[in-house]
Amino acid sequence: MRRNLIIVAALTALSVLAYFTISRLAAAEAKEPEARNRRGRGKPNHLIGEKSPYLLQHAYNPVAWYPWGEAAFAKARKESKPIFLSIGYSTCHWCHVMEKESFSNPGIAAVMNKYLVSIKVDREERPDVDGIYMAAATGAGWGGGWPLSMWLTPELKPFFGGTYFPPDARFGRPGFKQILERVAEVWKTRREDVRSDAERVAKALEQYSRVEGRSGPLNPEALDKAFAGYKESFVSSKGGFGGAPKFPMPVNQNFLLRYYARSKDKKALDMVAHALKEMAKGGIYDQVGGGFHRYSTDDKWHIPHFEKMLYDNAQLAANYLDAYQATKDPEFARVARETLDYVLRDMTHPEGGFYSAEDADSLPPELAGKVEDVGHEHRSEGAFYIWPKGELLRILGKDAGEIFSYRYGVEPGGNAESDPQGEFKGKNILYLAHTIPETARKFGKSEADVGRILEEAKRKVLEIRAARPRPQRDDKVLSDWNGLMISANARAAQILDDARYLDAAQKSAAFIRTRLYGEKANRLHRRWREGERKVSGLAVDYALLTQGLIDLYEATFDVEWLNWAVQLSEAQLKLFYDPEKGGFYQTAPGHDKNLLIRSMDDSDNVIPAASSVAALNFLRLAQFTDRKDFRQAAEKTLTRFGAQMAQQPRSLPQMLVALDYALSKTKQIIIAGNLQSPDTREMVRQVQSRFIPNKILMVVDEGKNKEAFLRWLPFLKGVGRIKGKATAYVCVDYACELPTNDPRTFETILDDKQPNGR
């Protein structure tokens, strides 16, 4: 066997890459100290002209980093050097570690600069690049996760990779230095072997990118099978599905809530309610400031990794809103509100766009003013969020402090059951240890009194916390993540009837429209920061923004948002759709000629696949506009993944949501009325207070909204108020109810009961 020695992994696995491999990747990301930001020290590298906060974190490394682009590729070709491609994101813990240990190390940097052309990519800016090399790494058996470390030929074909490497061999991993030297050696002595390995990986990637053999008819049994799988993996004592580390995975809740609406199987709702309650009780939820951290390292949501991601908070808020609609339990509304309020307070650009993430690490408050807080040198995990009991007692006074401590599980010596990095020593991660009644009993007070004391205590703790050194915020604005947040705010406006959320959703949509969208060309961009927009929109940008706009229409009933959703959908069909087999490619043709393949996401991860989101969008828009091509695109897309849904339903929970919609008796609810008048608003409220996921809701008045709709739906001419009162026209399942202007009759219809006829 004269196979390349450094390439130890089996390459054959790539073509049969399991559907769900990628979904496990997120779990592979690790934890540990942090990287150093050498801003202002020494000479910057080629990243200095970038806007990505993650790339800028590396701009003063001695490594001669290049951004992804022709300058780097040309240099590699010209000098016949392999490329080192390193992909991460600003809140990625191990990325910081590797930055600090290896990329800041002048000795290592010298080796890299001598033998390699080094490229840094922010995966949040370029999920397309990330997705391709992640597929290669996992498929080739090199292991996936972030930071992703890949060695490529000058033609960008990968021949070796991995994730985090320690500078010297440890944790049973080879050292980064050794690997660098070994790569330099084999590139010099056995280049043909390396190239032939790279060819094999590239070929396997090509095979993988075809997304073949997954098609099949639309089968409702896939929904039952998925449900059975969730039931099996449900952890009844601790909430959620499976063991540690635990990710909230909002798409799971999306599916189960729809399944509940379809089957009326209470177990589906119970599992969601339980999972959401346990999450909201745990340390994964920011008990004081609202919002969710990214995941927990234990199996009961207690000890989180503290980074906060916009996509989690947007989708979880929506989960809690759905659960509130389905159960009417005000606890879910509270968590949704607090989560949205966190985003509005801490994660919103003054003109409405939503920022991306907050780091896990920050300078511990006891070091504030004592050390210089540049880079990650002194920062530690969760420092912003955790408390010594003594400090809480000082802030709150002994009485309230003890009540607060009891309620939130605060202990004198700290409460973290596991603390691998020794960062939580003597400190407490707040979680709901005791209920209000328990707390009231313990302190011999009324529940009302205890409730008041705790509210006041929370307010004080939040105020003190706000003065602590903050975790770094990744303040780039991404189209897809903003789409998720527009949805969440629009849903909140519908369900909680709070104008602040409506305003936030509209402002963000307008922000994206002015800064990330070109109306003439009808093209979307992906990323905005500091006045610069960059990266052509990917399928997932179009899909998630479109979803947000449809939800925003159903909150504002301003047809302009729907109009834009239709425009984006047309662009999507043109740019990403596979007209032959259905499904949406991640990138448009000509997006970036340097990508090895044109990939199509085939699993719903923390962020759902573009095809899944698009399928549901097109089904909904087909109803709003009577566009047959929209309906066909949705059905074809679902068909492309029909067999995958039937065999591996849990790899595609969000696509199952679209499948459920396609197979169910969707309601078309049209309210003829004027939103300024109370009778119309009351009818809208009647719809929004119910969990009816498979429906479209339109309000048509005699003004511009009706005019606009008439282009799509000429039958609306005959839809009007009866006897001057708001009137509902409901069609479902090949038949229409008689129009009604009676709120009681309307409720009967919404509840699927039979109204009296005439």
Binding site: P217, Q623, D626, F715, Y734, A735, C736
Partner: protein
Amino acid sequence: MSLIARRAADFVRIRWKTLAGLAVVLAGGTMIGVLRGPHTEDFSEKPRPAADFALPDLTGKTVRLSDFKGQVVLVDFWATWCIPCIEELPDLKALYDKHKDRGFTIVGISIDDMGKEVVGPFVKENQVPYPILLAGLDPVEGFPVRGLPTAYLIDRRGFIVKKYFGFKFPEQLDKDVAAALSQGEP
């Protein structure tokens, strides 16, 4: 034919989708058929005489059911905003053309609140060949309507033999009309 192919075929006509209704299990566990969704009630065992009605057509002329005595009549309640009604219009036109010379007619009764103002242009644009009457939202005695479309099939003797709720599947309707026509053919 695969499920998806069949469904795609459906959509040539039925744009505003959904699979036909599944049976609903009511309390006690008895399958009593669809609560919603298209279904047919058969009165042919116990036909009852249809009440007469008198309604204006688009020109203002009064038209009565009794005007069609001796014919098989499909009395079809519909509205311009009713999506399934629009979807099935081509089927109804074809049915009318096929059987009209054998003593069959369709009488469409619009329940549009806006009446002639919207029904007139609709009928013209869609070239509806059979008589259209305007009932507005007032009930027509003897013809209860719970939702749209709702249709009654009346035999040559003036007896109601079938009632259809929701989208009418064309093959079934064609068979029913043919059967009614063959009974007591002059």
